[in-house]
Subunit: 263 residues, 2 copies
DNA sequence: ACCCGCTTTTGAACATGTTCAAGGTCGGCT
DNA sequence: AGCCGACCTTGAACATGTTCAAAAGCGGGT
């Protein structure tokens, strides 16, 4: 559990932040390394090829040899840029998060009702992720490993989560519910709504209905309930229970998922 | 996603129900097959050996070759009894569920307060699972695969879940809370509490504190909140929201997790 | 005793993720 | 030009889960 971290690894760092179309024109005369751009390009080719093959054949059926061959490089070269096969998934993760945030923002424009905004954000995720549902299960298995850096919670260095949480902050802030809420609670909500998305994702992964219609219905049904619970939270009677829930979330949930926004 | 199910597999069926000490003395002159007991014994030896090695070295570090060698059989023979390496995990799963139910029942004896009973049941699970925490992560990754028959929800043929749900029914029924609850809600609760356990398990898998102290604290803090929410549910004001939540659970949660008790 | 068919067992072969020592490329320095 | 060192690239070798055709028990019918 504490080993296997000292081989030739330690390469394949950073990047993975670009949605996929980067060509490294930026920072022409960078820090201290020449950075011909050639290297970045090789990396990009490998990633693009992998993502395409994953989508065409699924994760398990896509071999590293096939990726290397299609990308026109050697197997070892792929490993020079990506620590393991799993790390190639990161590409999807980042791209999806980016696309989702963009799409949801557009769709929410003009909508004020919190429940509606939340539903839009979640449905938007389902639409964005739709084309990957086929092999999402295999990808999910990997993401569930706490030791993997691909785990949605835990493991720092995940700007994707920050992007997603920011989106949910927008869901809340742009709604008519925001001004009515307790400030402290409002502070926790973006992370909590992201957690709601994680639950939806879990549901979605297991969903085998056509077009994941069941998950969509689940979203349509659960968002109004969530909205209603939040709406009620400001009444006096609930003061104590809201306090409990808040501290529970603050002390035990957020610290575990990477405290994106907490101070 | 729909293939690889027609090879030499289809063996390695049933069983996996015994906590581990079965020797097949029962049913001496069984149905139609001789069933020397030899076969069952080989299977048992392989399973026991595998479980021991998993515990000693972890899941990934235990090779099928090592299991076979230690068990004194050939690799192929292990595959004759177990469809894959993952299926060996089932042994743990079943044993733990059994031990947990037994231990929790004893510990709850005499305790009436619902919150206390729930806490006992959950802490009991943590104690039962403690020795496996080391390699639980690796096991968890497998369990997260919707296509795997080891997934805690979905995939029928899991008596373990029924056992666990029955335990939580006992948690509720033996408490002072039971008579105060709406009958319909009470019917859903066992499954819901089992879901609570699943959340705790998720938390536990990611928990790296000594003796998983953080998870224990999480349990101690979350059970009173759960109890309070349930206690409140019988008041009139909440009628509508309870109704919403109930139908949400009934229509979307339970059917997905294998409707252990629903009718 | 012998053969038949079934279950059980074997071990070599296969597939695929991963490693690694060796070599190649390239920009700059002398 | 020629060399240096860092960065890239290669492909064979390795580790391990899995398959499969063949062989080895084994029980009963003749």
């Amino acid at each position: 559990m504490e080993d296997a971290k000292n081989q030739s690894a330690a390469r394949a760092t950073g990047s993975a932040t670009e949605p996929g179309l980067g060509l490294a024109d930026e920072l022409p005369g960078g820090r201290a390394r020449p950075k011909t751009g050639k290297s970045e390009q090789t990396r990009a080719v490998i990633l693009e090829t992998a993502m395409r093959l994953f989508q065409e054949r699924g994760y398990d059926k896509t071999t590293m040899r096939a990726i290397a061959q299609e990308a026109g490089v050697s197997v070892g070269n792929a490993y020079y840029y990506f620590e393991s096969k799993e790390f190639l998934i990161q590409g999807f993760y980042d791209r999806m998060t980016h696309d989702h945030a963009e799409d949801a923002t557009v769709r929410m424009r003009g909508v004020k009702d919190f429940s509606d905004r939340l539903e839009i954000a979640l449905i938007s995720w389902l639409d964005t992720a739709a084309e990957y549902h086929e092999f999402a299960a295999q990808f999910f298995r990997t993401a569930a490993d706490p030791d993997s850096s691909l785990s949605p919670f835990s493991n720092e260095s995940h700007p994707a989560r920050a992007t997603a949480v920011a989106l949910f902050r927008e869901v809340l802030d742009g709604s008519d519910l925001a001004p009515k809420l307790d400030a402290e609670l409002a502070e926790l909500l973006p992370d909590l709504l992201w957690l709601h998305l994680m639950v939806v994702v879990l549901y979605w992964v297991f969903d085998r209905t056509p077009d994941t219609e069941r998950t969509r219905e689940f979203v349509r049904r659960s968002t109004p309930v969530a909205a209603r619970v939040l709406g009620l939270s400001r009444y006096r009677v609930f003061r104590p229970i809201v306090r409990d829930a808040k501290s529970l979330i603050q002390d035990f949930i957020l610290p575990t998922i990477g405290r994106t926004a907490v101070k």
